[in-house]
Amino acid sequence: MKAIEITAMGRSYGGPPVINNLNLKVPVGHIYGFLGRNGSGKTTVIKTLAGLLKSDSGTVQVFGKDPWFAGALEKQRIGYLSETQILPPMLRLRSIIRFSAPLYGERWDNDLCRSLLGKFGIDPTRRLSQLSLGQQRLFGFVMAVAPRPDLLILDEPAANLDVAARREFLEEILDLIRLGEKTVFFSTHVLTDIERVADSVGILAGGALVSEGSLDDLKDQYRRVRLYNFAGSLPKEIPGALCLRTSDRELVAVLRLEDSQSLRNLATRYSCQTEESPLPLEDLFIELTRPIQ
């Protein structure tokens, strides 16, 4: 069974649809990095997965069940950290824990909770509103992983975190995954985080995924290609090129190359010499989410 399965999902807030025919699958055991520019609808998808929003059309399933109708038992399996920190600010942290922990029953790992709080230097006798924004974020993260969820959904977990804290939380994600049969779905603007831990990525633009698959495949296939030493005149455009920069004697394009043969094909087709270099995810992201003009 898939941990997450979204088919033809649509959702609007009254105006034009924010999500339009979105299809997305995350198998159990994967760390899925969910990317998209600001306002691309990432949070809408994540809130739908957390059972906070209802989709207008299509089906959304988490462990085979629509999260909107999920009951206590199903929710025990899902850990969720929202984009804006929403936890009771007036309560002491230990009261928040005392409220949440019993709801998870056996699942709640008190030792993990305590050790993480210690690691992040968070004092549970303080009130949430007394913590810094970064610490609030970390506390939210602790609340999401302490029940050892089968699916961890994180919306911008890296926001307000310093480098060390970010590394810690990535380590925790990996630790969770190492337990086996666990799945992590997270969105972030810090692409190095995705590159470090994620094995699959989905890039959201215009309400649907513009690219999805294994991160390794994406990096293997998308290359920056330089075409130079043309025998004839420069071609006006190259089909499938995401980005094309021309000078009077050469072309630089971002291209999806299926295998090593494709580059040679390119060279013979345009009778020129070629050179390629890998493309960092950041550049690929920018190219894939560039609005169509």
Binding site: Y13, G14, F69, A72, L73, K75, I86, P88, M90, L103
Partner: protein, 269 residues
């Protein structure tokens, strides 16, 4: 956790999640209690009733905070206290805990209803300590004199001075408090479904605010300027038909509960 345990666990949480939220029931209780209990005699009951009308705002605010706090979160022009309450009662927090959704709803409803019934009970108890009600009406306002003397139960009319008559009703204050409580309960049961219906509409937030603030202000204006004797008549009508009123109110509360529950669970496909 079994649904029953979940309910009490969550109810306890809602009671202590933010002490700011208790300001609403407190404010709700204070004004009618003061205006009804402190004065020894009244010239009109409208003032008391409008006091009650003003306080429709408190149940509405509380309903919004308990049932649809996301309306406040992320808004400009809200106080930090409001934001804190919005976070503590938010769907983002409560609906992502392992709780059954119907339990979240019923715990919220129970909290909301208890928090607002408590002040009403206090008001009634206070009224019992001082049950008599005296009205001072100018003699020349003959219409008022006949209105009150015919409507106040067991009214005794005495001449207080050359220009005023005193109309005394031995159980008047209790009955007035009771009818005010019943009107309040009707309002209390109306707000949750209204607020939840509003929060589920997909228009821009400023439209929401126009409905919210406009409706609120409009209601106040209506109560203060346009209703004349209407409220007093409603109060007396309720006093005259207590059993029927209670039954109608029961139906209203039930319908309000059901509508709000449906709005939150939304099982439509």
């Amino acid at each position: 956790m079994k649904p029953n345990d979940q309910f009490f666990h969550l109810f306890g949480y809602l009671c202590k999640a933010s002490w700011w939220i208790w300001m609403m029931p407190l404010a709700f209780a204070l004004q009618p209690a003061v205006s009804l209990m402190l004065d020894s005699s009244f010239s009109s009951l409208n003032l008391q009733s409008t006091g009650l009308g003003m306080l429709c705002m408190m149940p509405m605010m509380l309903a919004t905070m308990v049932f649809a706090p996301e309306i406040f979160s992320g808004m400009n022009y809200t106080t930090p206290q409001t934001q804190q309450i919005a976070a503590a009662y938010s769907n983002d927090f409560l609906l992502t805990r392992p709780l059954d959704k119907p339990v979240v709803f019923s715990a919220r409803y129970a909290f909301y209803f208890c928090a607002l019934s408590l002040p009403l009970l206090i008001l009634l108890t206070l009224a019992f300590t001082k049950p008599g009600l005296t009205m001072d009406v100018p003699v020349k306002n003959i219409e008022s004199v006949t209105f009150y003397s015919s409507h106040l139960p067991d009214a005794e009319v005495t001449n207080k001075s050359e220009h005023t008559v005193a109309i005394h009703s031995p159980k008047g204050r209790v009955l007035l408090a009771l009818s005010m409580a019943l009107v309040s309960l009707a309002f209390i049961s109306f707000w949750p479904p209204f607020v939840m219906w509003l929060s589920r509409q997909r228009f821009h937030k400023w439209i929401f605010w126009i409905v919210f603030m406009g409706g609120l202000l409009g209601l106040q204006m209506l109560l203060i300027f346009r209703w004349g004797r209407f409220l007093e008549e409603v109060l007396f009508l309720i006093q005259g038909h207590l059993v029927v009123s209670c039954m109608i109110l029961g139906v209203l509360v039930f319908l309000g509960f059901r509508a709000a529950r449906r709005a939150m669970l939304d099982v439509s496909k």
